[in-house]
């Protein structure tokens, strides 16, 4: 077919007229192909995203403006769901839990990941083995991890309490209190994600020119000084990226606290560890209040958006300030 396109005009002569029209047809097809193929190729993503991503998100907002339950009329009530949320203690409780766990989990996680990446950035024997070792937790499934850690944090026979009793700590009922359940859940999150973040930091560290360190060493800078004055500032874009990803993920925390409380969407008898995502799920799928649940979803969306930006600003300032 390709050969035809070029040879048709050269064959020309008396038969030229007869050949010209299919050739022109083919040329037109080729033009159409070049013009529209790109759109055709990228369209599956847009179709799917519009249908199952953007439309649901927009529709969530529409639903949130209604009194919308599984049966009965869908009455338009404007922002009533949102004003109700603002005075809903259970909602604020879930916000408190989400932020507490987000901070307890993320801050040590990122510091640990930085340290780990710095260690992995040294000249090591068997670098791949070490990298696989730190990534291993990520390839295990969330549900499995949550189940195992829930047993580790069991009151009577849990390994955490067994370990702590050597230090004179009495059995802790981890689920019972806010702080203890926050700590236990944050531990699960950190166990799973620290290694992954360390690898991302490591990738950023390897892109830092080595002569910078050599020059600093000649000037007498210690390793610690090199770390804070060269590595951290040079790593700023990566740190921002990782923090934003962690914010988006951390504020949507769901599976770990859910399984930690044996599948109860309330997150404990007193809602000690119910997150916003769980509260949304509880309203929508346990109480069938789709309107109210959607308002929770949008509040969470807003919170994530605002915090990604705040995060970005803080880290830009912090990492830039250490120069």
């Amino acid at each position: 077919m390709g050969l035809d396109l070029r040879s048709a005009p050269t064959r020309a002569g008396g038969t030229g007229a007869r050949h010209a029209s299919p050739a022109r047809g083919r040329a037109r097809l080729a033009r159409l192909d070049i013009k529209f193929s790109p759109y055709l190729y990228i369209s599956p993503f847009y179709v799917l995203f519009l249908l199952f991503g953007l439309f649901p998100l927009g529709y969530t907002f529409w639903i949130s403006l209604h009194h919308w339950e599984i049966i009965g009329d869908h009455e338009f009530i404007g922002f009533t769901n949102y004003t109700r949320l603002l005075t809903d203690d259970q909602f604020w409780n879930s916000v408190e839990n989400t932020f507490a766990m987000f901070i307890i989990a993320t801050v040590p996680q990122l510091l640990l990941a930085l340290w780990l990446a710095n260690a992995l950035n040294r000249k090591l024997r068997f670098p791949t083995v070490f990298r696989m070792g730190v990534l291993l937790p990520l390839v295990t499934s969330v549900a499995a991890v949550a189940i195992v850690f829930t047993q580790i944090f069991g009151r009577d026979y849990g390994m955490a309490n067994w370990f702590l009793h050597f230090f004179g700590v009495n059995n802790i009922e981890w689920q019972a209190n806010k702080w203890s359940s926050w700590l236990a859940i944050s531990t699960m999150v950190d166990w799973r994600w620290t290694g992954y973040n360390a690898l991302i930091f490591l990738a950023g560290m390897q892109a830092i020119p080595r002569d910078l360190y050599e020059a600093a060493a000649i000037d007498g800078a210690s390793r610690t000084q090199q770390f804070w004055r060269i590595t951290v500032p040079m790593l700023r874009p990566t740190i921002i990226f990782v923090s934003i990803i962690s914010t988006i993920g951390g504020l949507q925390l769901f599976t770990e606290p859910l399984l930690f409380n044996s599948g109860h969407m309330e997150g404990g008898t007193l809602r000690q560890s119910q997150t916003v995502a769980m509260y949304m799920f509880e309203n929508a799928f346990n109480r069938f209040q789709y309107g109210y649940g959607s308002a929770v979803a949008w509040m969470l969306f807003l919170i994530i958006f605002v915090f990604s930006i705040i995060n970005f600003l803080i880290i830009r300032r912090l990492a830039g300030g250490i120069k």
Partner: protein
């Protein structure tokens, strides 16, 4: 004079090598970290091989027993969990989503990297922006869409919405942009190849390394998906993660049963990781560099 220079250069070279050397302390800390990574998994395996009388044991058991087969059998016999069906469901869903993601994302990535069309940059920016949207928050209406389509409780509900992802499109675009020379595509064009033929015969083979990483990621991600299957599927037709939660809810005191379930759920991921660990790490680190 030149002697001094040589000596100084030698010292600098030795210094720079020493600069990157890992101290024994670094090794010790790293090994300790990795031990922490492995320990919960090891312990999961240990409990899965024991009987339930280890539950109250002090100190807790640290050595594997001989009851793994028995416990695994009990998992499959637990009616509420539908574990066998869950395994099949997860395998099918993960494989279909992985293959489709690789195909559509390669196609779109190729278009964004190598084809010229108006609106290209704006459209690509849109793809990147979608990566920032927490789509999970749309599950309530997504659920309603599924109700309208009569898809609740069926496997396509956990497959179709995820057939192509913004992350994948972006990843393949980045790879295609640097892996495929423009001349190669122009040469194929001059030969009169259609755009799809160019994709299939020229571009797709060159994209293979990135495609493999994307396929692995997607497979693992789908296998691990929890919140959406939990919302849209029925307890009698679950995926693996959902089934684990059912097991957990039904028998939260039967440790060996639950742990045997988690071991079976993790084995496929573990195999993938052992075989392709190097590529997965490469993929994470390359993706990080470009982001």
């Amino acid at each position: 004079m030149s002697n001094v220079v040589v000596r100084r250069a030698k010292r600098a070279a030795a210094g720079s090598a020493r600069l990157w050397e890992a101290s024994p302390l670094t090794y010790i800390m790293l090994i300790f970290t990795i031990a922490l990574s492995i320990f919960p998994l090891y312990w999961m395996f240990v409990v899965a091989t024991r009987t339930n009388d280890v539950v109250g044991a002090v100190p807790p058991p640290f050595i594997a027993g001989q009851h793994l087969g028995e416990n695994v059998t009990r998992v499959f016999e637990t009616e509420q969990a539908h574990f066998a069906r869950a395994l099949v469901n997860s395998a099918v869903a993960s494989a279909v989503v992985a293959l489709s993601t690789v195909f559509f994302c390669s196609l779109a990535g190729f278009a964004f990297a190598k084809l010229r069309f108006s609106g290209r940059n704006a459209l690509l920016l849109f793809v990147i922006a979608t990566m920032m949207v927490p789509v999970q928050m749309g599950i309530i209406p997504l659920y309603m869409v599924m109700v309208k389509l009569h898809w609740t409780g069926t496997l396509q509900a956990v497959i179709v919405p995820f057939l192509v992802t913004g992350f994948g499109v972006f990843m393949m675009r980045q790879y295609a942009a640097q892996a495929i020379p423009d001349e190669l595509i122009e040469a194929a064009r001059v030969d009169g190849a259609s755009t799809f033929r160019i994709f299939w015969n020229v571009v797709a083979p060159a994209l293979r390394p990135a495609a493999a990483v994307l396929a692995l990621f997607t497979f693992m991600q789908t296998w691990n998906e929890f919140i959406w299957p939990r919302a849209v599927l029925n307890p009698n037709n679950p995926t693996v993660q959902y089934s684990l939660a059912l097991l957990n809810n039904a028998y939260s005191n039967d440790y060996t049963l639950m742990f045997a379930g988690t071991v079976v759920a993790i084995v496929p991921l573990f195999i993938v990781f052992v075989i392709f660990g190097r590529q997965i790490i490469g993929g994470i680190m390359e993706g990080a560099l470009k982001a």
